[in-house]
Symmetry: C2
Subunit: 425 residues, 2 copies
């Protein structure tokens, strides 16, 4: 398929072409790249070397690949993203019509084609606002039972609108960034006054993230059937959560410090077009929706296979969850339509999270809180250790992909290792 | 006091020296300025003309005044802000030791001293994240009674920690920007299904806003007694709220679309040092606080006199509220300490809101929701009109100041006019 060797099973097949921001030891200026098999193509170097010259449309705006983030590329819109992806696929194809551009251009290959293991990834976009939805109905139900009992697990609004809250944009970090176990205010069982202590119930949240590419003006809602044109692409997300801090602080205005110690995202943004084929029905919603949430198609929820590994400090790996992103009640288009219905302006680089994705069966939950029933039933790990929640030195890894064989469209992974808490002041 | 004529009663006395971003008809590039009486001093022009040459310390970093936002100036830290303010006061003083710099420099005065009425203000800083606290205890109680009844008006956590939630940074606009009445999901009394309709209960929230100047790293909390060094300055804020949308959507994750149609801030940032003298005790908190929230001084809450006017489409003005910013349970330093306790990184340009400021008596409330007891008792306005909530064409104006006579440190105002809703799609 490509003249570059791509291992079978690679997440970064020629069907994918995901975009990220890299640096190398030799050049510390962040710049756009695509991942392809075990390599990356440095798009700044590729552009400088005339790589885009066979596509006048892409060449005309190729200055966006000299930027330190993907925001400029994103803002050019989906037709441009698709043109760029198709062009790069054609350049990388085994039967490329332009071998002189890269395949047979030894000098440019040396400058622009790098080993993926030798580059460092950075946040792909400068994030303006970060919004976290709560579209994983199974998760919302499971957690609602624990926090409020089965009768009030899901609020009356839950099936009428995509519930969401604003998250913290500054604390979003790229995969591989260590996360410090936080101190926080915690109300211990039986106490009437809170304690300041290191979080004792640190958890992951398995989510998908989506980046916005097209701006809408303040006061101008986006219609649900136009919303897809506002989607740049997708990442995996781990919205680390301090459950003990959250339980004490979240009423009445929602989670705040319990989520601000960090949110990890995968490094490579999968373009919206690359995942169109994965779409299908999400969780059935029997509620009659208001017109602004009704989509032309009901098969509009991405279907990404997702897995969560925990790797202990001793190096033992256990896959603790296997699920799929179809376990969402709302499509991204519906989330955009609701986000903007009162006039909120979205901007290129804004990040939206799906909410935690859980299936209905044991071993498909997207949080340890659910897997251990709130810390009551420990997870048994390879090597004999147990976990009620995440311990210092544990590494959590989320992987996600669609397809198989030589045409996988995958995210790679988002990983993070928990560091012991620092002494306070 | 100044060789420039400053009207008695001006909010922008020589004791103030607030910073903002301006453009003029002749020059559309945004640039920093200070307000002084009925004039502004264009700091880019002042710097280009050698205005900072008598202060080596300020001159060395005066390139920050060629920026299109105040972020670079803010990031230089409070000692630099204070040095700049003192220097500008000395240049503007009637007995200035350097009359050749501006007072007697006709050419530079023409280039840099502009009529305030002839400049257009822009957002003073590029806002990274926007957090809204809930520190107005009287407001929290009044609204809690309406939403949850007197027994649950204040949650058990309320006096232990400064409750807050993340707001929407992209929809923060500068004073004077019109606000479009939003459509939104509303559950009408007696209905079981929501309706999509223009907001019928549009309200203001009288708040103070604070901008961050010093960054802390992710994972590194700021101690309460260091927190003042992270404060750049203050603005007035109107956090417009769609009460009917809010009531339906806010459980369990807090307000979302009900607040995203716009948040208005005043144009001139009052430096932290300029308001030190206004500090005193806030609302008494009898709860024993955890050490990270205990401040050396208890007299640490700003005392700003605040007023709210409503001006109808017919041009009739009524002052509907008079209160003071001492009606807060927490100081800004405590809010920063809590915001960062789990490791959240704050960045220069981040905006924090105080929460709605209400006194305990009738006519001191910071929202119409409180004044009309949830829309039950209409406000009687000048000219004979009544209001249960804000109507299309109404202009809401918040003013705030400290001091009197020729040494007022004031904010000017934050105003916004409500526009009729647009048809949907």
């Amino acid at each position: 398929m490509s003249w570059l060797p791509i291992p079978t099973g690679s997440h970064f097949s020629i069907a994918n072409i995901p975009f990220g921001i890299i640096t190398t030891a030799a050049d510390q200026t962040p710049r756009p790249a695509i991942a392809i098999g075990d390599h990356v193509l440095d798009l700044r170097a590729f552009g400088s070397g005339g790589g885009f010259s066979a596509s006048p449309k892409v060449q005309e705006r190729a200055d966006c690949f000299a930027s330190t983030t993907l925001n400029a590329f994103a803002a050019l819109g989906r037709p441009f993203h698709q043109a760029t992806r198709s062009y790069l696929q054609s350049v990388l194809a085994a039967d490329t019509k332009h071998p002189e551009l890269l395949k047979d251009n030894q000098q440019l290959r040396e400058a622009a084609v790098l080993q993926r293991s030798e580059v460092k990834n950075h946040l792909p976009l400068a994030i303006g606002d970060y919004t976290d939805f709560y579209a994983g109905k199974n998760h919302a139900y499971n957690v609602g039972v624990m926090f409020r009992g089965p009768a009030n697990a899901l609020q009356p609004n839950y099936t009428h609108l995509p519930v969401a809250y604003h998250g913290r944009a500054s604390s979003v970090v790229v995969s591989g960034t260590p996360i410090r176990r936080p101190w926080g205010q915690i109300l211990r069982p039986g106490d009437t006054n809170p304690t300041l202590a290191p979080c004792d119930k640190l958890d992951l949240e398995l989510e998908m993230g989506m980046f916005i590419c097209r701006e809408n003006s303040l006061g101008a809602p986006v219609s649900v059937n136009d919303a897809e044109q506002h989607i740049f692409g997708y990442v995996l997300m781990n919205d680390w959560s301090a459950r003990d801090v959250q339980a004490w602080e979240y009423v009445p205005l929602g989670p705040f410090t319990a989520k601000n110690m960090g949110t990890s995202i995968s490094a490579w943004v999968i373009l919206a077009d690359a995942l169109e084929a994965s779409k299908g029905p999400g969780i059935t919603n029997d509620t009659e929706l208001l017109p602004y949430l009704k989509q032309d198609s009901k098969d509009n929820v991405l279907g990404i296979d997702l897995e969560v590994d925990i790797i202990t400090a001793a190096g033992k790996k256990t896959t603790i969850s296997r699920t799929n992103s179809r376990n969402l009640l709302w499509s991204w288009a519906q989330m955009i339509a609701h986000h903007t219905i009162t006039g909120c302006n979205l901007r290129p680089g804004d990040l939206l999270g799906s909410g935690t994705i859980s299936g209905t069966e044991s071993g498909t939950e997207g949080s340890i809180l659910e897997q251990t029933k709130g810390g009551k039933i420990p997870l048994k790990l390879e090597g004999g250790e147990e976990r009620k929640f995440i311990q210092d030195g544990d590494t959590l890894v989320i992987r996600g992909s669609f397809g198989s064989g030589d045409s996988i469209v995958g995210f790679g992974e988002v990983s993070g290792t928990i560091q012991a808490p620092l002494p306070l002041f």
